[in-house]
Amino acid sequence: MDISYIILVPFIPLAVFILLGLFNQKIKPAVSGYIGVLGLLVSSSLSFYAAYQYFFVSGKMDGVYQTFIEKAVWMKFTETLQIDMGILVDPISVMMLVVVSVVSLMVHIYSRGYMKGDDGYTRFFSFLSLFTFSMYGLVLATNLFQIYIFWELVGVSSFLLIGYYYTKPSAVAAAKKAFIVTRFADFGFLVGILIVGFTTGTFDFETLNAVSPEGGSLLLNWASTSFMGLSVITWALILIFMGGAGKSAMLPFHIWLPDAMEGPTPVSALIHAATMVVAGVFLVARLFPMFYFVEDGFALNIVAYVGAISSLFAAIIAITQNDIKRVLAFSTMSQLGYMMLALGVSGYEGHEGLGYMASMFHLFTHAMFKALLFLGAGSVIHAVHSNYLKDMGGLRKYMPITNITFLIASLAIAGVPPFAGFWSKDEILVAAFENNILIYCSSVFVAGLTAFYMFRIYFGIFWSKEKAYDHAPKESPLSMTFPLLFLALLSIVVGFIPFSEFVTSDKIGFEAHLNYPLAAIATTVGLIGIVLAWAFYKKENSLSDKYANAFGALYRWAYDKFYFDEIYLFITKNIIFKWISAPFAKFDRKYVDGTMVGIGNKTVWTSEKIKGLQSGRVQDYAFSFIAGAVVLALVFIYLWTN
């Protein structure tokens, strides 16, 4: 299969970015919007074509999806250790190409309406293109180092886009926070990469993921060194997962995601819902054989538990939040936790690998309906000019299209058949049920919570009591409703894709069946959640406040996000800054700096003292000269005469 044309997929957005970035002031906003959309349209077409080619025409050989790699050596360290740049095409990268293309294209189109009249219109589109380029590069990366480079690039574009309204202090703070927190996590990632490079002598996914014929990673030969009871490779994987947790907002690195909602809503849809945040999931999936085989999947267990806890934790917080974008942010975190736990409980071969497939499936469907939710929320915010639930209500009359699409997305995320979320979530629950009953129970509970909080904001926005609006909200323009409709359509149909045929851990398709009892349980729980939300929030009533009061302390905790921000702030400010940084700074200023300054001062002092010798009077110089000459003459005479 010829894959060279796929190189164009990332490079078209890069070209658009450079074009729009360099000629920011020269290009008319309308034109820049068209350039951005057009560039992405080409990229998307190419990726759709690539997906079609790969999955249906030439990707399969003997029933196994092949991995195609095209690369060039970039940096050569030793005979074996080198860093390549290239593209790697296998089921998950092609699937991610499709996800990124669809969401990014929709967001581009949507942004043309949403950002209309904004000062930084062109800048916005150039950043979007930069992000799209980085994301394409990330999913196509052939080795750990390349993925790390693009990993940081998406981090930067995320930083730029969160801080897009850079005149707003809160946006600047949020951008900084997102960058620092993910950067901190990426530090672990980098250390992990270096450990892997050191112990195995390679960065290539192909080699790292190689599976021996007996079933087991080839890495085991290298994994003998141990550290604190675990093999070094396991430590490396845990550190790499730390990077993934940072990007995917898993506990305890989740604190940046809610704040990242300061960015424009299309950005939240693209980056903080559908694409960048799944990079962590993608990373674990990319290294899945390694995670699975090294030390019986110890690292993978950590992934599972972190995912499950994050998912539960985020769902509880989501219930209490009043800012609709924050609810969606926590919902994203919760769903990402789902994907992580699915990966964590997955096996490797055949039907064992259901969790892996379910995770990717959920990633796929989630990208569609979560992007739709964000875009719908953006549409609402666009009409009401507020993020807060208390400023909304009864909008269904004014915004019929937004209403319908938002409802579809909510149903999808709540896991109601036949919408997309139902199918993928069901697979996840089955995988969890088969492996870890504890995680399964938590997941089911989370499914109920998800349905509850989604319908809480749905009813809050579109039903409830009509608020007094400054001017009547009206439906958004076509450039915004078209992506909504398109994504709504996708949210309905993508669930029917036989995903297990295409994306599996061992790349051999299998047939997945609906597990009716489990599906029934999940659906029932979801419906209960919806009904509860209907009872609480359909009409404005005091029921919700009553229950909030009943839970009292728990409600307050959840409302304040379990004080994670405060804890971090306390740790950094009162412990690290006060007890470590400050003494070091003092030492630095007083002794290290002081020595240097002291030397400088002494030099100045000495110069000041001997400055008088340079009097500028010729005679003084002449006097010294002659005196010296006479003394020298005396010395020589003395020497010669003896």
Binding site: Q614, S615, G616, R617, V618, Q619, A622, F623, I626
Partner: protein
């Protein structure tokens, strides 16, 4: 050759002349006085050249020729020095050495 005068006596004379020039150079506070002292030092050395030529190598002329060159250079130097002194006087209205200290900056 001067009848009855040895080379030592003439060299003694030029040495004294030379050091009187040096004394003047070091003690005077005026640029023109310093110039005068320099002329004196130069003359002492010119006499040395000539006398040594005459007393030790009477068949050659190098000493004489060099003294001619020295005189020429001295003339050039004096012309330049006077020009500089005048220009300086025009700028700072003084030819005292202590007033030219500012030139070190």
């Amino acid at each position: 050759m001067i009848e009855g005068i040895s080379i030592y006596e003439i060299l003694t004379l030029t040495t004294i002349l030379f050091f009187v020039g040096v004394y003047g150079f070091l003690t005077r506070k005026n640029l023109i006085s310093i110039l005068i002292s320099i002329e004196m030092i130069l003359n002492a050395s010119v006499v040395n050249f000539v006398v040594i030529n005459k007393y030790l190598y009477p068949d050659m002329l190098q000493g004489v020729l060099f003294s001619i060159f020295i005189i020429a250079v001295a003339a050039a130097e004096t012309a330049l020095a006077v020009a500089i002194i005048i220009n300086l006087y025009r700028q700072i209205s003084s030819v005292e050495v202590k007033d030219t200290e500012v030139m070190k900056y």
